[in-house]
Amino acid sequence: MSHVQLNRISKSFSLRVDGKPQTIHALRDVSFEIAQGEIVALAGPSGCGKTTCLRIIMGLETATSGEITVGGRRVSGCGHDRGMVFQHAELLPWKTAAENIKFALAAKGVASSELDAMAARYLELVNLGHAANRRPHQLSGGMRQRIGIARALAIDPEVLLMDEPFGALDSQTRETLQMEVLSIHQRTRKTVIFVTHDLDEAVLLADRVVVMSQGSVQEIISVDVPRPREDIRAIIASTEFMTKRARIWSALHDAKPRPPILESAA
């Protein structure tokens, strides 16, 4: 049964550039389904609509047309069934690392007596137990991103949405967190949708890779590397990995960036 279903989603933005009205079709007729427990990567050139797609699934943006269901329910607005990791972390600057996580927990209705312990647990998960009382600007970009991930995981969503979650990290930390995502997924069978520019990451984590181009789905590629994927080294060296990687590479290579801009009269 499909867990997340996008049915002919389109999104256009109207704006004025130099006084002329323009319409940007950020998404056009995007349809795909994601099964319960599946990990799907969204890939494609910059500006092709990946973030917009994720924001619509999260409920932060409403589609111009089309319908999205999560767990059979039509999406309208945000919900605790989905957790979002933002492209630029977006921590609240006046809250410490722990408080940022507690903010999400409290909004979900977790009892205040449990907040401290839970925040500490999720900080520990991303190896930031020592930074609990620091504010975002006292942390590195990668540390902030990890807190953003911890915050989304903390509310224990059914669907985890991640917008380039590991983009700003060094390869060591990235690998640790990738393994962490795999092991959390192994345990909880969460549905995960993430945006990435990294081919290795897409093949390593995802069951399928949705390659987007100019606001529409160009191709959906199944990865078919068996789970559990525990030994990164072995996987990366395998021929399946190599062929899939090459396959996605050529799909991305054909993909065109930005969606077209239509200058409407009026």
Partner: protein, 277 residues
Amino acid sequence: MSQSTDTAPLAPIAAARPVARAWRMPDWMITTISILVFLGLWESARDHIDPLFASYPSAILKAAWRMTLNGRLPDALWESAQPFLAGYALAAILGVPIGLLLGRYRVLQAAFGIYVTAGYSTPLIALVPLLLLWFGLGFTVKTVIIFLLTFFPICINSWAGVRAVPKSLVEVGTAFCASQQTIMRQIVLPAVLPYIMAGLRLGVGKAVIAMVIAEFLTAISGLGGVIMSSANAFRTADMFVPIILIMVLAVLLTNFVEWIERRIAPWQTELTGHDAP
């Protein structure tokens, strides 16, 4: 590799000689020296100063001492402080929440924003003759004048602050399904705080101006009254006493507001604080 490197291990040398930090003069010391030099220069010009047209520090100090002893200065200060505090407090208590509401609700902004903009950009001093008719010459009219001149900068700042709250941070609240109340208290308010405090700081200056003008134009009273009557009697040193007292109090009040800001919004100074050489 060069030959010199293989004999001396690097780490112990670095450890033995910690980098010496040059001593930096604290800010308050620089300020104090600046004031002392200024007063010294002013005092040194005393022989060239006609006491009728200007004055110099030691004469002003003497006048201040005399006016304190005979009660004229404390009385005037007390007389000025009451409408000042009442008008300023009223402006802050009304200005901040009204500004927040204007920024938060589109309809309110469309309906009432124009009045705040108008009030901010019009010289409200022009209303004083009318206010005198309405409120007489006493405490009330002074409070109203101070309130009017202080309310608008405070209000317009918190209004602008709400509109400057980063949309992406409000979205974090939305994404995690925080209630409107939580978003207001934990995201919007902290983000607006620096703007509110800037408004309150500006308000101190405006309130001081309003206070002196009110005392000039209404019943000659308070510190403004002392300035007027001393000037009319050509007692120039006496005239400088309330002027300098007002200056000192305004600076102290402004610093006090800044201190409060650092206490309740420490992240702000950490974010923007720069360490200029």
